[in-house]
Subunit: 516 residues, 2 copies
């Protein structure tokens, strides 16, 4: 499926990006027709994208934990099917016991049901806001969110930040803070930075706000002129691959660092400019015992960080905490530092941040939190070739460009990545769905006989005209003009020393695409 | 001041980016002390950034017009002073005669005063909104916009799009459309895509909404470990410069395409992610006679584009039109296609777009518009190493990072560019102010005896503690830790063929900075 020294190779498909989406695309193409030669190019020294498994000391040897995406749900069809195909099992998240909530007033409250410990008015406010968001989200087709049934409001909803929406429609600060806290972990951004229409699409793609929040744990989170009919990918390190089709499986912000000549269509440029990655720091702390469970606590905390005296930080670091005891039973807590907190706490010394995390945890779980075995932080905002996590969010006023910008193919380029998904976009499920969809698009061109109509349903080659790119359904002259043009892609510079320990062995640096 | 073959040179200052701001920084440093060796690196095959002068046929030979920034005003101190120093004259914009306005209802109205042809209610609405914005903007210190006197609202104003703000506070559609039309030209974005607090800062930096709108015509870019105390700049084409200080004079979006290792501070990363360039197409059309003037028309039009039958475009292309007759008297009209219109009309065939522009102009100025001599368009969104114009705008929720993110120095890097200015930021004046400020910062380090306290007033070395970066006033340990670190900058890849026709001759591709 991949080649460890693809220099000068001539293949059928190049996949740019070895995250879940790119790997799924390569897997799907290979599985459908093993005779198709596929090369995956990855700039990091590992595959997996925003997923990353590490070993930690559990006090009695080591066990493994995920510093990136870790949760899946049965409500997520694509990842569930892939896991089944690969014969991979799952185990449930621990949710018994008392949960904590700390918002605004710095008061810690605890509760055992699914209902947060808010005042009666705040609870009603939260429920009616959830109802309003779900009702609106049902009118938003995740496949074409800008042209929704609430179309007379789509421009207004797209031009409004989620923060403005909540200030307009919500009565209580604490209910709003509840949604704020969830979003810092789900999207890694502040509500002020996200388009309402994007949020509604995200909720729609997850089938509702409840599945989304209950699955908030699911944070999945270069060319020269030639005279043939193929795509040329040339990396800065000299690796050179010729292919019939290319799958770009990088997040919009990183796709924006690849130089395309002629440039990508204006809608794709808009998404690269206006859909930046969120900021999140994932913290895993191992313990010798699951002391919180014995105290009747679930390990779950929802907090706006609580007060802090650390200069440069408005609030404490934490957003959400969960029990993260491993499948083998190694006790651990998981904490997220998301959105503004991630940005502010990233600036602090590692020791100061760690101390603040433990201090905050101790307010909920007592002094035992200080007796940890191992402590690890993964700041995804500092990760090269990811530049953030858990996902990318559209700024207000950007949604009109999303479908063509993220999902539609252009010339011989196909676009994957969880951001381009319609079912659980932003999550591991979305990465898989987008990878499958891009693979099916490629197969439609290279092996039309082996892709079924059903497999083309969510592609631009499906029966729905709304998914058909403008260049296919009209303006044939222009489409023709473009196909006799050239595409140059200058990929992201990779540090050359990575060559020595490359996993895929083909750093993408310079990718060349020619279509004549 | 610049060197045409700086390969392997050892200089005092490298300026990355040969736009107005970078060139002003180099000019200021050179003027202050000609013994300082300064190299300007530019990725394009020309200097000038978002300013560009071209020759057009005027029907009787040729004359020159500006496809980029062209207007200046006496209310803009820095550019005015620079022009005087350079002995450059200006001439007034033609404003006599009837002006046109076409908003929403597709009806063309005309007026001769400064007061737009709106209904009585809409006029009152427009005036009270201008008053509200000016009153709020006076509370916003352009030097530190996030900590304004309306501080209890700054987060809310930053988290709100200008579109939401107008929908909340304005009564009439036509008055709102008036502001929308102005913003498409001033910022090149839709009101839905801009933070209210950013807009207030922009108004504040221009001294009010009237000067801004009346001056809306003023739409004015690697390393290895070494053991000395200097900055190493290495371009992909092999050009290599060693310097004591570097000025980065590129817009945030392009600075984001330079790889810094270790990465730039998180605030600078946020601005690179969340302050994209606007989209604007500038159209200049020359004529044999100034027929509009003889018809008693000023040449000025404010329009939301009017109706169109072109598929993929919601409205006609135009936003604002002006008389653009040259100093030598060659008749011309100037039209702007900005924001969403630029994005949608960019997708059309050149001939179709040209036809729509002329058709729309004919609705105001009659059939004579079709008898043009020369016609030229400059789509700044398609310009490499600019990626848009006229300026960059902060998305909602980004303003907290603006001061540190755009203006503060980091290690031996200093940051210019009009986006980082506090007086007429976004305009040519801002480019000059920022260039001067960055030059003074560099001189503070290299020639402290020749910079006055007054020249340091708007730098982090001035007396105001609010401008002092955190690393200088506190956390000395961390600041020390960083100074023993390394900075790697991998610059934007330049097309190698540019080498043959380089103006500055030093394409920045790979820039290396080391600070020990």
């Amino acid at each position: 499926m991949t080649d460890h020294s693809p220099s000068g190779q001539d293949v059928d498909v190049v996949v740019v990006g070895g995250g879940l989406s790119g790997l799924t695309a390569a897997y799907q193409i290979h599985r459908k027709d093993p005779s198709l030669r596929v090369v995956v190019l990855e700039a990091k020294d590992r595959v997996g994208g925003r997923t990353l498994t590490v070993e930690l000391d559990n006090g009695n040897g080591t066990d493994t934990w995920d510093l990136g995406g870790q949760w899946v749900g049965r409500c997520q069809p694509h990842i569930t099917k892939l896991l089944a195909e690969l014969g991979l099992d799952t185990y449930p998240q621990y949710i018994q016991g008392r949960k904590f909530m700390q918002l605004g007033g710095d008061v810690v409250t605890s509760y055992t049901s699914d209902i947060p410990s808010l005042s009666g008015l705040a609870l009603i406010d939260l429920q009616r806001t959830i109802n309003r968001v779900e009702r609106l989200s049902k009118m938003v087709d995740a496949r074409d969110p800008y042209n929704c049934q609430c179309s007379k409001f789509d421009a207004e909803l797209d031009g409004m930040s989620l923060d403005s929406f909540m200030r307009k429609h919500m009565w209580t600060k604490s209910a709003k803070e509840c949604i704020d806290a969830a979003n810092r972990t789900i999207l890694g951004v502040e509500a002020s930075q996200v388009s309402v229409l994007f949020y509604l699409m995200y909720v729609s793609a997850a089938g509702g706000i409840r599945p989304l929040v209950e699955a908030s744990e699911n944070t999945g989170q270069e060319s020269k002129i030639i005279d043939d009919n193929s795509v040329h990918v040339t990396c800065k390190n000299g690796v050179c691959v010729t292919a019939k089709r290319v799958v770009i499986a990088t997040p919009p912000q990183l796709t924006g660092k690849i130089i395309f000549s002629p440039p990508l269509p204006t809608e794709k440029q808009q998404m690269m400019k206006r859909m930046p990655m969120g900021d999140i720091i994932k913290v895993i702390i191992t313990y010798r015992e699951v002391f919180w469970r014995s105290a009747g606590q679930s390990g779950e905390v929802v907090t706006d960080g609580g007060p802090t005296h650390v200069s440069g930080c408005e609030r404490g670091p934490l957003c959400v905490v969960y029990d993260n005891t491993s499948y083998r039973g190694s006790p651990a807590l998981l904490a997220f530092i998301g959105g503004k907190a991630a940005i502010q706490w990233r600036n602090q010394q590692a020791l100061e941040r760690k101390s603040a995390v433990l201090k905050s945890l101790s307010e909920f779980f007592g002094h035992k939190v200080w007796s940890y075995v191992d402590y690890i932080e993964k700041d995804w905002g500092q990760e090269p070739y990811s530049e953030g996590a858990p996902t990318s969010s559209a700024a207000p006023g950007t949604m009109a460009y999303l479908v063509k910008g993220l999902r539609h193919p252009y010339m011989k380029l196909h676009f994957a990545g969880t951001e381009s998904a319609t079912v659980w976009c932003g999550f591991m499920n979305g990465a898989v769905q987008a990878g499958l969809r891009a693979a099916n698009e490629v197969l439609y061109h290279l092996r039309p006989q082996i892709v079924s109509a059903a497999e083309l349903l969510d592609t631009v080659y499906g029966p729905s005209t709304q998914n058909r790119p403008a260049s296919m359904s009209r303006r044939p002259n222009k489409a023709f003009k473009w196909t006799v043009g050239l595409v140059f892609i200058v990929g992201e510079a990779a540090v050359l020393t990575n060559l020595s320990h490359g996993v895929v062995g083909a750093l993408f640096v310079q990718v060349m695409v020619v279509h004549l």
